[in-house]
């Protein structure tokens, strides 16, 4: 394809990362993730796809510092992450995390207000972020008055104002319909380009990963491991219209080829689980 232009400095690095949960009651411990080895380059857009329950969200939380790995190391900008969220990392969660008791404006300003930045700067950043996310006309509305997609945009705005250098998105468009997802995908790309941040997106939708990312990591069924990392080679100035290109179909096809077996495994595992529970 054309100019990929992905910078090669390492922004975040995972080495030998695994995550094991202790079993409930008499059950054996659950090996949920890993071992994972991954280098995230500065400014790249990396997507993780895999079947349900494979550990994608765990992966994101370990990278963010919300969970400690059971083994292995995670470093961000050269410094190890030890169970605390580092400065410069922003996270948008799958569930709606907008605060129902605050207006859109106060939601976006929430993190900034606590970091001791001057009020004038707070206003500037909040205005910019809300305008960028298309929420300029809704600053005084409450989340309960907005649609699901708009509430997610509020959460993204709240993350943006902190000017994170690494943005982690955990299936942020899971609850939205297909057309809205494509449009939100364009938004995320716009966001990525204008902030210059490194973006990691978790999704179960192969086409979404293929369309948005510079690199796509295909994760196996539990315990999640990367079975392949595909370089898409898209230009930085891309949008949802690339779904028309032949390469898009090839990439999506290849992802499905690698993940079909894993999805069947995950499906079988969940069938066994429900059978055992009865």
């Amino acid at each position: 394809m054309t100019d990929a232009a992905v910078p090669r400095d390492v922004h975040a690095r995972l080495r030998g990362v695994t995550r094991t949960y202790p079993g409930a009651g008499n059950q054996p411990p659950v090996h949920a993730l890993g071992p994972i080895d991954l280098d995230l380059s500065k400014g790249e857009f990396f997507a993780v796809v895999g079947p349900s329950g494979c550990g994608k969200s765990t992966f994101l939380e370990v990278l963010a510092g919300l969970q400690r790995p059971s083994a292995g190391t995670v470093t961000f900008e050269g410094k190890p992450i030890l169970g605390e969220v580092a400065d410069g990392i922003g996270v948008v969660f799958q569930e709606d995390a907008s605060f129902p008791w605050l207006t859109v404006w106060d939601n976006a300003a929430f993190g900034l207000r606590r970091s001791g930045i001057a009020e004038a700067e707070v206003r500037r950043r909040v205005e910019d972020a809300l305008a960028f996310m298309g929420l300029k006309d809704f600053t005084r509305a409450y989340p309960s008055q907005l649609s699901g997609g708009m509430r997610q945009r509020v959460c993204i705005a709240r993350t943006l104002v902190l000017q994170p250098r690494l943005i982690l998105l955990d299936e942020p468009f899971g609850a939205l319909d297909a057309q809205t997802r494509l449009l939100m995908g364009d938004e995320v790309l716009r966001l990525w380009r204008s902030t210059g941040a490194t973006v990691l997106l978790i999704t179960h939708a192969l086409d979404e990963a293929a369309m948005l990312a510079d690199r796509v990591g295909a994760m196996s069924a539990r315990p999640g491991r990367f079975i392949e990392v595909i370089e898409t080679g898209w230009p930085r100035e891309r949008d949802s219209s690339i779904v028309a290109e032949a390469a898009f179909g090839e990439i999506t096809g290849r992802l499905w080829e690698r993940l079909r077996g894993e999805s069947l495994k995950a499906l079988g595992a969940s069938r066994l689980a429900t059978a055992a529970a009865d």
């Binding site: 510092g65 919300l66 569930e95 995390a97 605060f99 989340p143 309960s144 902190l162």
Partner: protein, 252 residues
């Protein structure tokens, strides 16, 4: 559906009107029920004369003390128990049964222990109301969506900041339900205690009026209490509706 409100007012007015008619035309004797209009005028005279001001102050004062105490104590205990899961599990059967037993019948025992004074009334009032607040607090803290605590960590908030700026507002609707119940239960328990046995208070006044066959006075005082209780409950309900609309919007 605003005309539903109008229909409701019409229905209530019709019932009161029917009662008035039945009493005035002696279908119902004055020894049983006094016409509503006379209830109102008698109440007005009593209030204007200032004769029951002391009792109003006493009864409402006790109720306020009971409510405030129950809310504060109930919230504090709720927070404490929520932080100790094992204690909470052990107390669970107690909470489940608490409102299944007629706690109020403990009132005479309290009188036997503490004597006939204001103290047993306060105790039975708090005993009735506090557990509702504890349960509501536990519920509210449970219902803070887990994603909010994760957001707190992403924003690197300390424990106190997380509690004050995230957990408290998120739990607030449920805490308010506890407040509503505490107000309601406190009111009911205090009035019942005054009624059954008390040195003074509006409940005692009504019981005395009944014993003296003073129907006019009795109905006037009953009307007064019903109006006060209805206003307070309605105000809380309206407040709750405003909050609820802003908060839930289909996310519960």
């Amino acid at each position: 559906m605003r005309h539903v409100g109008l229909i409701r007012i019409a229905v209530i007015a019709a019932l009161i009107g029917a009662l008035e008619f039945a009493c005035q035309s002696s279908l119902i004797s004055r020894r049983t029920i006094v016409p509503p209009s006379e209830m109102a005028t008698t109440l007005y005279k009593i209030l204007v004369s200032g004769a029951i001001n002391a009792d109003i102050a006493r009864t409402l004062g006790v109720i306020v003390v009971v409510i405030v105490f129950s809310i504060v104590l109930g919230f504090a205990l709720g927070v404490l128990i929520h932080a100790l899961p094992r204690v909470r599990e052990a107390l669970d059967p107690l909470f489940a049964t608490y409102y299944a037993v007629p706690v109020f019948i403990f009132y005479p025992v309290l009188i036997a222990i503490f004597g006939l004074s204001i103290f047993p009334i306060v105790v039975i009032g708090v005993a009735t109301a506090v557990v509702a607040m504890i349960i509501a607090t536990l519920n509210g803290l449970d219902r803070v969506p887990r994603v909010l605590t994760k957001v707190a960590r992403v924003h690197r908030l300390g424990r106190v900041a997380t509690a004050l700026t995230l957990q408290l507002p998120a739990a607030a609707p449920y805490l308010f339900t506890g407040v509503k119940l505490s107000v309601s239960y406190g009111f009911i328990a205090v009035i019942a205690a005054e009624f059954i046995l008390s040195p003074a208070g509006l409940g005692r006044d009504i019981a005395d009026a009944y014993a003296d066959f003073n129907n006019r006075r009795m109905y006037a005082l009953i009307l007064f209490l019903l109006i006060v209780a209805t206003i307070v409950n309605a105000a809380l309900h309206a407040f709750d509706m405003r909050w609820a609309a802003r908060r839930s919007g289909g996310r519960l």
